[in-house]
């Protein structure tokens, strides 16, 4: 007998033994259909279990949010030092003399001299 056939016979015989035992011990179809759900099945459907599952989901979501907030890189910020702000607001004391010379005001820092509104004389107008 070939090995494969021999294996076939051995395994088939073992399963036949198991099937014989099962047939003898099996509950009837009606018993199975009408049986009450087991303790563990009822536990699975219980409100307590669902509540616990919902609690776990919420806890995981909160933990994930906090972890993200803690370790996420802050958005880059452009910080202007106080000195620069003070410099931008600075006006020379001699500004008061400018109207007399026909110039309306000194150009602002960063302003262009081509900006005629900030650097115009009466003569140019």
């Amino acid at each position: 007998m070939m090995n494969d056939e021999r294996d076939d016979v051995i395994v088939r015989s073992a399963f036949a033994d198991l099937r014989t035992e099962d047939v003898r011990s099996a509950a009837s179809f009606d018993d199975v259909v009408t049986r009450r759900a087991s303790m563990s099945s009822r536990l699975g459907a219980s409100a307590l279990f669902r509540l616990a599952a919902a609690g776990i989901v919420i806890a995981v979501a909160v933990a994930a949010y906090e972890t993200h907030a803690r370790f996420a890189k802050p958005a880059p910020q452009f910080i202007v030092s106080r000195d620069i702000i003070a410099l931008a607001a600075w006006h020379p004391a001699t500004d008061a003399l400018l109207p007399a010379s026909g110039i309306r005001m000194t150009p602002i820092i960063g302003g262009s001299i081509l900006d005629l509104d900030t650097l115009t004389t009466g003569a140019l107008r």
Binding site: D4, R6, D7, D8, I10, V11, R12, A14, F15, D17, L18, R19, T20, E21, D22, V23, R24, S25, A26, A27, S28, F29, D31, V32, V33, R35, A37, S38, M39, S40, S41, L43, G44, F49, A52, A53, I56
Partner: protein
């Protein structure tokens, strides 16, 4: 197929379904619970047979999925520290004295050999040798390719035969 026909079909398949449910579960009580859930699902129309395979193949697929879902749920209960529900299986019907010692020993050896196989090998061998299904049907039930089922079948069969031969007194 109407409700009465379906119930009759389920009843006719019950001995096979029980054997398969038992193969998918650790204990007989669990297998009965799984079967109860499956029968209720099928009879209530929650699980519908679409006629793409035989009723037996389809039903075995439902039993397998239900048993796996139950196992996952039980693991979750264990993780949550749910109270352990201790149950004692009903003793099997008394056997005649004739088949006692030798048959009991043979079945124990068969179960021992099966436990040494991988889950996939156990499943495919059960479906082919116990349920007399083809490897193709087994693949369908196990949701794997036929080629993969064939590999599990051959390796499992060889290994089980070796174990049973080596175990022989």
């Amino acid at each position: 197929m109407d409700h009465a026909d379906l119930a009759r079909e389920l009843e006719a398949l019950h001995p096979h379904s029980f054997g398969w449910a038992k193969a998918c579960c650790d204990r007989r009580e669990e297998a009965e619970d799984v079967l109860h859930d499956v029968y209720v699902k099928v009879l209530n129309g929650e699980a519908r047979f679409d006629g793409r395979s035989t009723l037996k193949t389809w039903l075995f697929g439902v039993i397998r999925r239900t048993a796996f879902a139950r196992r996952r749920r039980d693991r979750l209960h264990a993780l949550l520290g749910a109270r352990e529900v201790t149950r004692i299986d009903r003793p099997a019907a008394a056997s005649s004295p004739v088949d006692d010692a030798i048959d009991v020993d043979r079945r124990a050896r068969a179960r021992r050999a099966l436990n040494m196989l991988s889950a996939r090998q156990r499943e495919v061998l059960h479906l082919v040798f116990y349920q007399d299904l083809t490897v193709e049907d087994a693949a369908l039930i196990m949701s794997i390719s036929t080629g993969s089922a064939r590999t599990h079948y051959h390796r499992g069969k060889t290994r089980m035969a070796e174990l049973l031969s080596g175990d022989r007194p």
